[in-house]
Amino acid sequence: MSDTTALVNAGVNQMLPDERNKGMLAVAGSFASPLIGMFEWIGDLGIFSWRVLQAAVTPPYEWRELVRQLDEVGSKSFPLVALAGAAVGVVISLEARYSLSRFGAKSMFPSTLVYSVVQVMGPIITGLVVSGRVGAGIGAELASMKVTEQIDAIEASAINPYRYLAATRILACILMLPLLTLAADACGLLTGWFAQALVEPLSFHQFIQSGFKGATFDAFLPPTFKTAVYGLIIGLIACFQGMRTRGGAEGVGRAATNSVVLGSLFLILADVVLVKFILVVFP
């Protein structure tokens, strides 16, 4: 037994029973408090989701705000997503060429690039980029509206904020993520081919024919449309974090950060489940 441990044990043994109980309760409390907070968060998220769902399926529908949000989430995220997709295409192209050459499987390059981009990297990169840009934006915007009583003002004007603010943003994320993923995929394939073509002559037509040879819709549609679930996660978490904000500027900052961190984390965790689900349903 080390000297330090011996001293600590001696200290504990010298405590009165009441003091020891209090100490143990404090330790238990320090573990219980975050646990209670987590359950509270899950419960609040459940209630929030139910309210948004109720608001989303009952009229009046906020078409104008939905179109504005589609533009905000979709067209304004497009350049960033396209750039990220293009960069990923180049990286995969460089890595794949090197790895495939080592195993003498260079002819597999087009299909490796196509499957890597469309099935794996395109969806997840799009999700993470949108989570960063849109998640933070929604979280900060709604949090700022919350702390300046603008959300209360909307509610006081007899407008359902779950319908006007949350449902429109979440729906825009759900609808736009698959389209943005297609854009990221297209840019990734284009730059991936271009990076390869710079080293070895390979026509685009040849690359596409070889890459998609024997491919079925089952191989590409589920990974693309699973991003609608990413959209749901990004929109839901960001709206929830924004609309439950308390405090001033600090609260707004916390809401923006939590929207990105939690959104990205849940997105990656959801991907694990979705990939397994797709493999089972579309073997």
């Binding site: 009952t58 509206m145 009583e149 603008q150 209360d152 003002a153 006081a156 004007s157 007899a158 407008i159």
Partner: protein, 262 residues
């Protein structure tokens, strides 16, 4: 053919409707965590009447307004608007009642992404679908003229002063022709001249529209100017309610102290 007697009866009925309370708060309790804010509070407001709610900070004045418009629900007790209990009412159902209410927030709470015109047009766009775009624009101009802010039509809320924001907030609160007007500290943070202008504006609106109004304020002078009745709150309950003169004649220590310090 209506007789004089029938007309007299109709007149009496109308007076009865006018004197029926529009807002009734009955034995309301509200706590936030361990902090008890309202403790069995009871009050009512009739049509065409202005009630000023006074009291120290943290006595639940703003909480009372939020309960009346349904932004928060009471732990117990009743909040009746036109005889309907709104406690725990679903959001969309509550929306129908809120259309009859206007709320001026303490810091105006204007939508910072919309222009002044956009702020006032916002409730009209959602609830007055029968109005054409030009009719809506006319209505916005009319409301802004009513609060003396016609020149700020295309300005952003961040480009106008606090007093102007309150005026725009008031115009927005009036957009749907409310029967009940709730004002949270309408003169707080304003210079004496702007405060007097807001008071005059509220008085003018009261004369023209005959709404039931509840004004939460710290400003005793403003309360005396605009209200028919004053209610003084302490520890989450009404200590005294009545005309200013009645408050002056009160022997209650807290009332005397409050009037002395105001």
């Amino acid at each position: 053919m209506a007789t004089t007697y029938d007309n007299a009866m109709k007149q009496a009925d109308l007076q009865k409707v006018d004197s029926a309370p529009v807002v009734v708060v009955e034995n309301v309790h509200k706590s936030f965590g361990i902090h008890k804010v309202l403790n069995g509070l009871t009050l009512s407001v009739n049509r065409g009447e202005t009630l000023a709610v006074l009291g120290r900070s943290g006595t639940g004045k703003s909480v009372l307004l939020r309960l009346i418009i349904g932004l928060i629900t009471p732990d117990s007790g009743l909040v009746r608007i036109h005889g309907q209990n709104i406690a725990g009412m679903p959001l969309d159902e509550m929306g129908e009642i809120r259309k009859k209410m206007g709320f001026l927030f303490q810091h105006a709470a204007l939508y910072d992404s919309l222009t002044v015109a956009g702020n006032i047009s916002f409730p009209l766009e959602h609830h007055r679908k029968d109005m054409s775009k030009s009719e809506r624009a006319d209505r916005v101009r009319e409301l802004l003229a009513e609060v003396g802010m016609e020149s700020a039509l295309e300005k952003m809320p961040s480009d106008i002063s606090g007093g102007m924001q309150k005026r725009v907030g008031l115009a927005r609160a009036l957009a749907l022709d409310p029967e009940i007007l709730l004002l949270d500290e309408p003169t707080a943070g304003l210079d004496p001249i702007s405060s007097a202008e807001i008071d005059d504006l509220i008085l003018k609106l009261q004369r023209e529209r005959q709404m039931a109004s509840i004004v939460v304020t710290h400003d005793l002078h403003s309360a005396r100017t605009i209200a028919n009745r004053l209610a003084l709150l302490d520890k989450g309950n009404v200590v005294i309610e009545g005309k200013y003169e009645e408050l002056q004649q009160s022997d209650i220590g807290f009332v005397k102290e409050f009037l002395k310090q105001s």
